[in-house]
Structure formats: C-alpha cells, structure tokens
Symmetry: C2
C-alpha cells in the first residue's frame, strides 16, 4: 500500500471509530485507560528493550546528547507513563458536560453540551511519552486519533502503540480508534493535512520548521504550541527576596522551554536594591546578562542590550534586563514585545497586581509566582498537548477539554419559525 492509501485508510478507520468513541461512558474510558496503565507496567522490559534499539541508532547517527536524553525510556520514565495514564483515567470526563441550558419564550429548551472533536491528528518528534499522552488525552475526550511520531523513536512508538491497542481493545476500545503511521516518510504528513473531511484537528509538536510547514499547508484546522517570550516585572512594591527567588526560577530552572523568562523588567525605585544580588546569582548560574543603559549604570559589567534583545526568545541561559520608570511602562513593554504566553508581576500592592493582571494581554498572567508554572500538569490537567498563544479555540495550556467542541441540543414540541 502506498503512503497516500495508508494514511487515507487510517483516517477512514479513525473517522468510523470516532462515532463509537463519542458514545463511550466515563466508566468505559476510565477502565480502558487503567488497563493501558497496567499493560505499560507489565510490559516495561519489552518497552525498554525496543527503546534501546532507537537509542543505539540515535547514538550511531550522532544525535545530540539532549535529543538522546529526550528519546530514552528507563524504568522510572516508563513508570511515569503508567502513572500519567492512571492520573488521566481519574480526570473528570469533559464529554457530555452541560455548559449551559435555558428555555426560550416559544417553549424550546436549549442545552449546550460538550462533545468530542472527532478525529485528532497528532504529528510529533523525539519523545515517545507524547505517544502515551496523546492517546490518553484523546481517549478521555472521546476522540479517535492518528499519530505520526518521529523516525528516531519508531521502535519505541511501535511497541507502545501495540501495548496500548491490545490492552485497549480487550477492555472495550473501539476497533480502529488508535492509528499509527509507521512510515518515516514525511509525505505522510503532507497527505494527512489534506484530509479535512476525515480529520478534525491537527496538533503538531516538534521543531518550529515543522510547525510552520503544517500551519501554512494544512487544510485541517491546526492547534499549535506558540512561541514564549515571557517577562517578569519587579514592581516598586515587590518583596525583594521573593522577587529574586521567582526571577531566578523563571530564568534558570529550565531555560530551554517556552514558559521560561527572557526579559526581566525592574522598577527604577528598586533597581539598586534588587539588581546587584540578582545579577550575582545569575552570574553564578552562568547566565549571560544583557541590560539597558540604566541596568549598566547599576551593574557595569553587563553587556549593553540592543533593540533586538527585547524581541529575542533566547531559550538559553541569556537574559535581557530593563529598568522601567512605572508599572505602565512595564505593561506597555510587555504588550509590545511579549508573545502573549506567560507574564508575571512581583508586588505586594494589590492594586498594582490587579492592574497588571487586567492590562497585560497574555494566555496566563501571574501574581507573585514564576512563569514556569504555566503547565498542564501544574494546573491539574494530568497532561498537556501544548500551550497555545493563539486566541481562537484554546488559549494557554491545553488538556483534554481543548480536544472537545460543543453542540446545541434543542428539545421542542412542534415549534416552527414564524
């Protein structure tokens, strides 16, 4: 079978299974997910064995150490996969939720309910845990799915899918609900993003280039992870100790991710109190400092920031620092340069906090907390399929609920349009 026929056949299988997926009860979905969790644990040696084939091949082909780390499954990580399935099995079922219900003067009762999207197409790279998270989120949200993982994880994914499918099918998962594209050929992606009559949403996770290609070429609606150019603003009423702790965490705890901080904004009244200690801590953590002129006047050895720095998502141990003369200037800077991802204010003044939270336009705004907390797990969603910086459909961290849509159910007794 050619690639085109293979993708089409799997999409048709998913579409057909999606009707049955939508009708599963919460108990049935829970049972399936628990069976999958147990199967993953039982088969952990098998999974680690298949994963080691991928890891060996990755080493031979010279993949970077960090990519090999992302690819590797050890006993602890396999156990985490099983735990994640168990956790998601316990989440509230988003499907069937009555969002609102009302009666109109003509006597019809309208109920707006939550229903599955249908078929989710998931395109991703590297980490085999995405396979398990995607399947789990699709099942709890009543969707069928078609997955295409990266070629570097093909043996791991194949092994995981086999275990998930076998344990699922034996506990009531509809046949054809989970589909996996085996080929490494990227033409399978090109085929999948054409099938707008069979696939309801495409979720790409991976390199910027891959996401850009899919955004530009997909006819199927795309829900993608956005860029994160996040700020922390240290207000003049900030608790300086807390400000230092939060700023350090937001930059250094994991600098390569979207919710890490890139630019630190500091109110002029606290710059000379806050910056020396803060910059010392950053230097000790090997953070490269780039500052505005005022920052440089306080900390002479910082590199002078260029205009381009305010628009840079470093994703690295580099930070830009700007001293601002007011809360308004901080808000304005964020609304001009931020990517609308995660923005934080440190202040003990409630009015300043509320102004910042209301006027900063972002998916998530934080008061006295690190931007690194913007995460599906931290927020309690069990797992996340990404963090959206778009405004339509889903904004911020996306979990099972973001894989649903709504339906109006109208009960009448013969009403017509007059």
């Amino acid at each position: 079978m050619g690639i085109k026929e293979d993708v089409l056949a799997k999409a048709e299988s998913a579409k057909s299974a999606s009707r049955l997926m939508a009708l599963l009860t919460s108990e049935q979905k829970s049972r399936i997910l628990m069976a999958m969790s147990e199967a993953i644990l039982n088969e952990k040696d098998n999974i680690i064995f298949h994963n080691s084939i991928d890891v060996e091949a990755a080493k031979e082909s010279g993949l970077s150490a960090s990519l090999i780390d992302r690819l590797t499954l050890d006993e602890k990580r396999v156990k985490a996969l099983a735990e994640s399935l168990a956790e998601i099995s316990n989440l509230p079922d988003p499907v069937g939720e009555v969002i609102s219900e009302w009666v109109r003067p003509i006597g019809i009762k309208i109920r707006k309910i939550r229903v599955p999207l249908g078929v989710v197409g998931m395109l991703y790279e590297s980490r085999p845990n995405v396979t398990v998270d995607a399947v789990a989120l699709c099942i709890i949200s009543g969707n069928a799915c078609i997955l295409k993982g990266g070629s570097e994880a093909i043996n791991s994914n194949h092994s995981l899918i086999k275990i998930l499918n076998e344990s699922g099918l034996s506990t009531g998962l509809p046949d054809g609900a989970i589909n996996f594209i085996e080929t490494a050929d990227r033409n399978s992606i090109v085929e999948m993003i054409k099938l707008d009559n069979l696939v309801d949403i495409i979720i790409p996770r991976g390199s910027r280039e891959m996401i850009k290609f899919i955004r530009e070429h997909s006819i199927v609606p795309v829900l993608a992870h956005g860029k994160g150019l996040c700020h922390t603003y240290i207000d003049k009423f900030a608790d300086i100790g807390m400000a230092k702790k939060i700023s350090f965490n937001a930059k250094c705890q994991r600098p390569g991710v979207c919710n890490a901080m890139e630019t630190l904004l500091v109110h002029k009244d606290v710059a000379s109190e806050f910056l020396p200690d803060m910059c010392k801590a950053y230097k000790e953590a090997n953070v490269e400092l780039r500052g505005c002129k005022i920052t440089k006047s306080v900390i002479p050895d910082v590199i002078e920031a260029k205009d381009a720095d305010w628009s840079s998502e470093y994703l690295d141990l580099i930070i830009s620092i700007k001293v601002v003369s007011s809360l308004d200037e901080a808000i304005e800077h964020i609304n001009v340069y931020g990517s609308g991802h995660s923005e934080s204010i440190v202040t003990d003044d409630r009015a300043c906090a509320e102004k910042f939270l209301a006027e900063v336009d972002a998916a998530a705004v934080f008061h006295n907390a690190s931007t690194r907390l913007h995460d599906g797990g931290v927020f309690g969603f069990g797992a996340e399929i990404g963090i959206s910086t778009q405004k339509l459909h889903a904004r911020g961290t996306m979990g099972a609920r973001e894989l649903t849509t709504t339906k109006y159910v109208v009960y009448g007794s013969g009403q017509i349009r007059e």
Copy 2:
C-alpha cells in the same frame, strides 16, 4: 493616503483602542449602546435619506430586486436597528465571566476568565444592518473593530457609522474603537487579512467566493459562516401532523437560508401515511420534489433523485426525499451527506430522539422542532454574527460570547517550579 496606509492606520487605531475597550465596565458598555440606539432613532430621516442614494444607484446599476430589498432601510427597519442595539445593551456582559476557579496543592489559585479577542475585522456585503449588529456585538464583548461593507451600501454605512461613532464617543467609547474602511477597492481586504499582529479575527459575511478567498489567503484567523445541508427525519413514531408542520416550515418559510431543510428522510413504516399529504402541501407551495425510488412508488409524479441530490444545498424551493428503513439508516445518511449545521428528528419516542440527538454530528440537533430555529435571535443572543459549522472555537450560532477568548489569572505567594 493609499489603501495600504489607510488600512494599517485604522488597524493601529483599533489595536490601541482595544486596550481601553477591554477595560470598560458592563454599565459603560450598556450606556454607550443605549446612546447609539437613541441616536439611530433620532437620526432616522437622515439614515433613510442616505440609504435612498444607495438604493437609487443600485436600481440604476441593475441590481436584483432581492439585493435591493436587502439594501433598503425604511422607517420600520431603522427602528429595528435601534431595538437591536437596546436589546444587546441588556445582554449579560461576557467579559470578566469566571469560567472556572481552583486552588492547586502548591497553593496557587487559578482563575480562568473570559476576555475580549481584541480587534475584530468584519468584511461584509449588502445589508447595512450588519454594520449596526457588528458594532453592537463588538462593544458588548469589549472589542475594537474595523468594518468594510459593500460598495453598494457605502452611503448608508457611512451615515450609520457617523451616528454610532458620535453617540458612542460622547458617552465614553474610546477614540478609534470603531473604524470603517471607506474605499470600495477590494485591495483593502487583501491588506486587512495580512495584519495578524494587529487584527485578532476576520469575520467574512457575504458571497461564497468572497469567503473562500478570505479563508485561503488570510493570515489572521477566520471565523466564517458555513454551508447548510440540513435534514429533517420523520421517525416511525412521529406525530404525523407535527411532522408535516415542521417539514413544511423547515423547507418553505425561507428556503434561501442556511438552516432551511434540503433533504427529508422518512421512515418506511410511515411513508404511505405521511408522504401524500406532505407532498400535496409542497406542490401547492411550488416546491419541486425529487425522491428516491420508494418515494416515487408512493408519489409517482416526483422527479427521481440522482446521487448528486443528496449532496445538494438547493437554497431554493426544491426538496429531495428519501425513505429509510431505520433510524440508524437516517443517522448514517445525515452523517455522510449533512454539512453538520442543523438536523431535526420528529418522533414521540424518547429513546429514538436521544439516539438521534447523540449520534448525529452537527452544530445543532433538534427534537420535534424546525431546523429554521437555529438562529442567534431565536436562541436569545440578541443578534448573531453567523452560524459556524466548524468545530474549533465556535460551533453553531455565534453571538457576543464567540467574540471572546480566555485568560488564566494565577495568584501566588512566591511559588516557583521545583
């Protein structure tokens, strides 16, 4: 100023005003909308005068009678515009709604709230009432807007926008919140759909060709009205009198609109009881009947339906009729041929109804009611910006709430990511 510069300047003005729009209170928005409603009434002669210039020009250029009718504003229609503004001023404010709120074990409180999208770009044709509806829905949802109406309504729209802006500005509407593209040149559309850094959503209303062009070329997300291929299914447990009333209404009350019925599905057990009377009524209303073989065996003078009929949105006094042998066959037919818009079952059996409502995949499903009721006004939304058949962001009739997005507001006390 060239077209490109004009559109850019208006988008920048809208973007800047959108920050202030987002902060208006419900009372402020209500006051603005009521002032606009009064101003429309006070200026009704002025509006009708300017409209008459458009109507005269349309007659001279040979526009069809139905387009001229859509364009025309008489005293009754102007009053309806004022009433619509007053009605929308009384709607619940979607902005600030706390959708959910929870506390996580680490002590952060997360609040998911509803916020405006920002800047709404509205592209439409013909009917000047869309100008008023769009402005009203944007204001109640806290958005700034850029409107581009059709060249045939330019004088009417110009007059309406002037009145809305003057009455709005004098009661607290932020300067630059309502922008209108004066030129008839369609290049202004091409410019607007490029501005993804300034415009948050494009809503096209008009011809299929215009919507298709915008969908294919817009970088800004598009929310568009979908095609309506709607069915009514007469179950074997239907009240035949009600079935006839609903089927007649769904086809004939206004055949040219998206929620009118195109295909009637009839259970075989009631075909001979239901079809003769029903077809007689349709014939008297000049409806062209196209039926399957079984329909033809009951009503010999119907035209035999071709395969293409089941996929046809006639938007006219034409109907296709199919006799099915079961509820399952009806559901299957709808899920294959329907456009996911509005689907109705007529039955007195609750289990049959619930099965249909659950298994038919559409934006709105009706039990014992006409598909023609799928409408923002009928549903109580004051006005609608269209009916979506897509599954992301908004599905079904769209009102003010669909012009909003969400924001996570997180309250901490120094929490960081461990």
